[in-house]
């Protein structure tokens, strides 16, 4: 996957990452598993600054599906933060929360769908929702800043109350499609 830093970093004035952080606290999230994405950079900083959250930087998103499962087995709640390309890395492993009937909330920052400059982001970006749904995930999109907090809230509630993988896809239109180096 691509991790061209800053090309998709959200506007500094946007406070939706802070709203997501507040939701993670409200839902009692203790383990935050992630492969970094620029779109999540501000949220990641908030989580890293929180002594009640264990932030786990993964070598691949697959690890995160397992970590969230292990956290639930051990009595804690977790969330997985990743970029749309990372969704492709964990598809088979979604069998874990499905087979065991456990929560697996994911917050995905989208690439490859709105003004993308990197050709490699487009195939997975356009397939992200369909592939997740094909693996039994309840997928909701947020395409405006005002949509993000209620959609993430719904995704967390669905996961923890109905014991299944759920995902919020944060549209690239919200995050901003910037050109690398400009």
């Amino acid at each position: 996957m691509q991790r061209d830093t800053l090309e998709s970093a959200p506007d500094a004035a946007a406070d939706w990452p802070d709203q997501i952080y507040d939701l993670l606290k409200q839902h009692g999230i203790r383990q935050v598993a992630l492969v970094p994405d620029a779109g999540h950079a501000r949220l990641i900083r908030r989580c890293l600054a929180d002594n009640d959250m264990q932030v786990v930087t993964l070598t691949t998103e697959e690890e995160g599906i397992a970590m969230l499962f292990g956290a639930w087995l051990g009595g804690e709640k977790g969330v997985l933060l990743m970029q749309s390309s990372g969704v492709g890395n964990c598809i088979n492993m979604l069998s874990v929360p499905i087979a065991h009937r456990t929560p697996c909330p994911m917050i995905v920052t989208m690439r490859g769908e709105f003004g993308e400059f990197n050709p490699f982001q487009v195939p997975m970006g356009n397939a992200t929702g369909a592939v997740l749904e094909a693996m039994g995930t309840l997928v909701k999109r947020a395409d405006t800043p005002a949509d993000i907090a209620p959609t993430v809230d719904a995704t967390l509630r669905l996961a923890f109350n109905t014991f299944r993988p759920t995902a919020t896809l944060i549209g690239q239109r919200v995050i901003g499609a910037k050109t690398f180096g400009k």
Partner: protein, 203 residues
């Protein structure tokens, strides 16, 4: 002097698993990895704190890590086959960075994908999992020289801060039994065994 991979005695997996289970006295959690790793854990005698991973090849260590972080007062063991670990070698770096003191990993290395017919793994060229673990930063990783050394290393993992990694060279003996395949039941039993799921109803 530390045991090297080629000097380690080839152990029977079922016997080694029974030796581990016999030394667990404090409701330690055990995550049995996919295939024969969890089959022999099952055969060694069910404990409420046993989890049997029927799918998701490579994820025994990351699952155990999640449990270990959630329950820092409990020792957590991951039993992972060599072929499975190859699918998720990066998790050793993750573990080394987080340094969960209560996590121990047993790598069950028979050099093959035994469950699919004994085909050699791509590590047949000589990859050394203990050396890989040390290279990732799990400084105390060690091969078990023989049965007595395995018991010594398990006792060490129970008594001292980890993360620990113990490499076991195995012979080609097959599993002693097969695990029942009911994932919700496996999960439910495990969570009750850990005290993380309670119900006012009996049973």
């Amino acid at each position: 002097m530390a045991t090297t991979a080629h000097n380690a005695k080839r152990l029977h997996r079922f016997d080694a698993t029974k030796r581990l289970v016999a030394r667990l006295q404090r409701e330690e959690a055990v995550i049995g990895g996919i295939g024969h790793s969890n089959f022999d854990l099952w055969a060694a005698g069910h404990r409420p704190q046993n989890f049997y991973m029927l799918g998701s090849m490579g994820l025994a260590v990351p699952i155990a890590l999640g449990v270990a972080l959630a329950q820092p007062q409990r020792r957590v063991f991951a039993l992972e086959g060599d072929g499975s670990l190859l699918m998720q070698l990066g998790c050793l770096a993750t573990v080394a960075t987080l340094r969960p003191a209560n996590l121990a990993i047993l790598v069950m290395d028979n050099g093959t994908y035994q469950i699919t017919g004994g085909q050699a793994t791509p590590a047949a060229g000589g990859a050394d999992y203990v050396a890989i673990a040390r290279g990732c930063g799990i400084a105390g990783a060690a091969w078990a020289a023989d049965e007595a050394d395995l018991e010594r290393l398990i006792d060490n993992a129970l008594a001292t801060d980890g993360p620990h990694l113990i490499g076991l060279k195995l012979d080609d003996q097959g599993p002693a039994a097969q695990t029942e395949r009911d994932p919700p039941q496996i999960r439910d039993r495990f969570m009750r065994g850990l005290g993380t799921k309670t119900s006012k109803l009996p049973g």
